[in-house]
């Protein structure tokens, strides 16, 4: 059982380049989330989805876009990468509404923007 899988694991970009981070879950979870984790700041929610075809903004959505075309996949896009987006990105999923449900996380994508 793979759980939540993120690709790629590492990436280095130049300022202005674009890229897409892929998250896939095989638990048939409805809810999926993208977080960034920076030193001393904990996890911050970028975007989330409450079901196939839906997306919503989190705390820090600027500079990112997402898509949820299939229930099992949640894509995070950077249209024009900036050094401030250097971070570790985590995808998570949960079975249903967060009430009384833990999130399951992938192992992250480490992204550096030069």
């Amino acid at each position: 059982n793979a759980g939540v899988t993120q690709t790629p694991k590492f990436r280095v970009l130049k300022t202005g380049q674009s890229m897409t981070l892929l998250c896939a879950q095989d638990m048939n979870h409805e809810y999926m989330y993208w977080y960034r984790q920076d030193p001393g700041m904990g996890l911050r929610l970028i975007h989330y989805s409450v079901g196939e075809g839906t997306t919503a903004k989190g705390e820090v959505p600027d500079g990112y876009n997402v898509s949820r075309l299939k229930k099992q996949n949640f894509l995070l896009g950077l249209e024009s990468a900036a050094p401030s987006q250097t971070s570790v990105y985590f995808c998570a999923s949960s079975l249903s509404r967060p009430l009384n449900q833990p999130q399951h996380f992938g192992d992250g994508t480490r992204l550096s923007i030069l």
């Binding site: 904990g42 996890l43 929610l45 985590f90 009430l99 399951h104 996380f105 992250g108």
Partner: protein, 112 residues
């Protein structure tokens, strides 16, 4: 505003001793809490959760205590092992929203 925070950024414990990691929350209406463990280079891993109708819940070598009076929860790890070295943080899904609130974490260091 709502917040979930941790008292100490780093905790050093001798191998074999018990560890206690604390977490404070501010929303008295919170009814569910989660503890995660994050090892270096990995994503957060679910350890144990507790609902507000409970004061204590035990897992394998871990116990979570909830004190609703002072809005405080703690994670106790019995007989701490080197493999327990990680960052631990609590999380709270506020009622009525989809968004979890995470603390910044406490780093547990196990000394040989």
């Amino acid at each position: 505003g709502e917040s979930v925070g941790l008292h100490l950024p780093t905790l050093s414990v001798q191998e074999g001793d018990n560890s206690i990691i604390n977490c404070a929350y501010s929303n008295s209406a919170s009814d569910y809490f989660i503890w995660y463990k994050q090892e270096s280079g990995k994503g957060p891993q679910f350890i144990i959760d507790i609902r507000s109708n409970m004061d204590k819940r035990q897992g394998q070598r871990v116990t979570v205590l909830l004190n609703k009076t002072v809005k405080h929860l703690s994670l106790q790890i019995a007989a701490t092992q080197p493999g327990d070295s990680a960052v631990y943080f609590c999380a709270e899904p506020p009622s009525g929203t989809y968004k979890y609130i995470f603390g910044t974490g406490t780093r547990l260091k196990v000394l040989a």
